[in-house]
Symmetry: C2
Subunit: 245 residues, 2 copies
């Protein structure tokens, strides 16, 4: 499985994904699920993928192939030259639909889920930071001020802390910590989500990546936040008033 989370606060965007992929419990591999494109000063876009790996790899390959063709001089629309982030989500949704039309039915006939979902996050000059969640049918939703984060994959373990902490005015530092704690809870409770992680941060109105960093197993920073959170939870739990049964 997978866990990816994208958070949209006033200071910018935080994205965090794991890298574990499994085709059955005895076929576990590591695949990057975070993909980033940047035109510094003009736009920064990241995709995070979940679900059937053959479908999502096909989508990413087609998106990159289109960008390669424009760099070779062709005049076609891509997520890097399209007019809005909304249009970029439509382009990703279109590639998703192409992959599903080519392979969806054949995959399902094998008794395997072809389902996939992709988070698109980024900002272009002239627009605001936006997060979209694109489904298998190519349709998509956008995070709003009411719900300023979106998740794909094993989202339930890590949702309670996001529900409690994330508001539009949450600081970028707190949004990063919330993503880390949300991932840490998921890693502890579900073996199908695993290190290393990919963290991406886009500060508002910079149209570039403030951070793109791989967090390896044993990363001292991650271990420190994880241990501090464990200790704080244990302490907080011990201080609870007794529940008179």
């Amino acid at each position: 499985m997978t866990y990816c989370v994208a958070i949209n606060v006033e200071e910018g965007l935080v994205l965090l994904s794991d890298t574990r992929t499994n085709a059955g419990v005895d076929n576990i591999s590591r695949f990057r699920k975070m993909f980033t494109w940047e035109l510094p000063g003009e736009r920064a876009i990241a995709l995070m993928t979940a679900g059937n790996l053959s479908i999502t790899q096909g989508v990413i390959t087609r998106i990159q192939a289109a960008i390669d063709r424009t760099e070779a001089g062709e005049d076609i629309e891509t997520i890097l030259n399209c007019s809005t982030l909304y249009r970029a989500a439509e382009i990703v949704g279109g590639k998703m639909r192409e992959m599903m039309e080519s392979y969806g039915e054949a995959i399902s006939q094998q008794g395997v889920s072809a389902g996939a979902s992709i988070i698109l996050a980024g900002q272009r000059k002239g627009g605001r930071p936006r997060i979209f969640l694109i489904y298998s049918a190519g349709n998509f939703i956008e995070a709003t001020r009411d719900t300023p984060f979106l998740q794909v994959g094993e989202h339930k373990y890590g949702k309670p802390i996001l529900d409690r902490v994330i508001r539009p005015d949450t600081s970028l530092a707190d949004a990063i910590n919330a993503a880390v704690v949300s991932m840490d809870s998921t890693l502890r409770s579900n073996l199908s989500v695993g290190m290393p992680l990919d963290l991406t941060v886009i500060k508002r109105d910079t149209y570039s990546f403030h951070a793109r960093r791989r967090i390896e197993a044993g990363d001292p920073q991650f271990a420190q936040v994880s241990a501090a959170w464990s200790e704080a939870l244990r302490h907080a739990f011990a201080e609870l008033p007794p529940f008179e049964e």
Copy 2:
């Protein structure tokens, strides 16, 4: 949906269930999911149900009908007179299989899931406190010292706190608080789980119920633990070291 959790610590058993049932999002009702039977000083048994309500109500009805028949003088085996808790789990599993054989296929043909699961928890004189999780096929697993709790329904939101806190030597008071906090996280993150709650506590070697209590929406004790946990989490989160991206 549903969330039920049963915890087995050295001091005894803690069971907590919600009461919300939904047939689609626009057909939401309240049904008890916790059922208890007691022969004070000899055995105390509780069942908690999840999944297709027509199946689980049928199972409970058949179990109660058998007990009623022994009370009228018939000599048949029931969960109250059988020799072990393991045998009681087999009896519940047998009723589950009967219901599935009668209705499972017809329900599935309507495109509705017939799936159900039941937690059985209790202790009889001469035995130890035990928790079983009975599946739709009538098969079951038992909680062990390695995993001293079992959950049914929407179990993921509330699992991280149990993973962190529950050990065999956790006190009964802490096990109750862990169940309450686990339920509180689930209630906040998933609208298909709802108040009121049913709490049951069986102290080891008493073979009777220490507590059987309904926790209504607005219950001051529940509100106090919930608010204390929220405040403690917020405080703990604010104290985390910054994650250098």
